[in-house]
Symmetry: C2
Subunit: 269 residues, 2 copies
């Protein structure tokens, strides 16, 4: 019995073309890509390998700009532009006995290609959408019998889920689980790869995860916010670099909004 993330799944996750083909082979919707995108249509040209946080990709708006991007980027893939309502992600874990557990869908807010904050559980998710997310994560994990955590980034397109990409590991959009879920994504991954039973993915109240990007905050100001939990990664400050995150827990949407407002003030000082 393999007790690790599947090497095949890891390889696929590192190649945007293989990733899209995997999704399609599993019956999971993706953005149109390559020949499916009209030559003069708006598109995003991405490198197949190595891009992250918005790096290694260029938005194009006509045939000329696309040709320039295709010439510039190594191993390019063309993606059609998807008009989505919002960005979501789902995190799931598969145990060595085949059990799959899935966290509630999370709503992600990006800025400049970088994840800025996640709300967990995502608001306005019905059982049908959560079930679809569970099914998507399960198909990805089961394709190669992978063990451990996987995160799938999704677009909400009129209530249907379109897969963007996946990561065969713990994910930034799952950091809220440390305080906000019964079992954290990190503990879940460790349980899985040690061949142990998985824990509950149930949320404990509401959470918001706010990334600390580029500069360190005033720790005292952050920790004065009720329900705030500060995580610093000990990394050197650099523009655009994730240096840590704050998870804010709350009992109700009203309380979460109030605490996030306080946090915004704390981060601006």
């Amino acid at each position: 019995v393999p007790v690790r993330p599947s090497p095949e799944l890891v390889a696929v996750s590192q190649d945007r073309l293989a990733e899209k083909r995997l999704f399609r082979s599993l019956g999971i919707a993706t953005a149109p890509f390559d020949d499916e995108v009209r030559p003069d249509a708006a598109a995003i040209v991405k490198t197949r390998r190595g891009g992250y946080d918005g790096r290694g990709q260029v938005r194009t708006h006509d045939a000329a700009s696309r040709a320039a991007a295709l010439a510039e980027l190594p191993e390019p893939i063309v993606e059609g532009v998807v008009t989505f309502r919002r960005e979501l992600s789902v995190i799931a874990a598969r145990a060595s006995d085949g059990t799959v557990v899935t966290y509630p869908l999370v709503a992600n807010h990006h800025g400049g290609g970088i994840l800025r904050r996640s709300l967990a559980p995502a608001p306005d998710v019905g059982p049908q959408m959560q079930d679809e997310a569970v099914s998507i994560a399960r198909r990805v994990l089961e394709r190669f019998g992978s063990v451990g955590v996987v995160a799938v980034e999704l677009f909400d397109v009129g209530g249907r889920l379109v897969a963007n990409e996946f990561a065969p590991r713990v994910h930034n959009s799952g950091h809220w689980t440390i305080e906000g879920a019964e079992t954290s994504q990190f503990e879940q991954h460790v349980r899985a790869v040690l061949g142990l039973p998985l824990g509950s993915c149930a949320a404990r109240g509401l959470s918001a995860m706010v990334n600390l990007i580029g500069t360190e905050p005033d720790a005292a100001a952050v920790l004065a916010v009720p329900g705030a939990h500060l995580h610093r990664y000990g990394k050197a400050p650099r523009p655009g670099r994730k240096l840590g995150h704050v998870t804010v827990t709350a009992e109700s949407p009203e309380q979460l909004v109030d605490r996030l407002a306080k946090l915004d003030v704390a981060l601006a000082t």
Copy 2:
């Protein structure tokens, strides 16, 4: 501003005689000791320094056995036997700005002089008893202007609290706070000694902390229990040694009882 546990408080905590005198000087009830205990009465003779987990103490039942214990133990102190309803503890933290925060009282169950399990919050604690515990912890922390966490072990004697001993640090009976409280006692201590604001001590549902003593459990069996969180300390097994603990979280007393029953089975396998 001192930003550390008071050295005076640490010194007092290491000497059972100084500890009792401190409690008394702060108006906190203790067991009778030394000359207050009739020569032939049942008593516990303890070393003033270095005892823990029931070590360094002898129960005596008459003048002869007491004389033998006094001759045997270094720097002995005689404590009268207190008839108590149950054992409780309170954990509090003091920030460098003087703010004191206090966790809910916890009910502790010992066996063979060693803490076996804690229930948090302790059942059947009214606001008056919690207030008395808060006041006791506050007086101890404020005596020398200490910063950081303190734990006070208490006897519930007919609804009044009698102090047994205190520890100027995080405490075994506070390990439940990792999953069971908004802010763990460890984070609370770190916040305090870094001069940062303290977090909420509110409980998140109900918790039970079960010490793993002497032998390692079957991790898979433990983690199959809903709400169970396993903490291993990486210590070599030895009879009577605390090798780790399990915290079980639950939403209701009924659920906690059910999960603890499952855990007992898991620990017996």
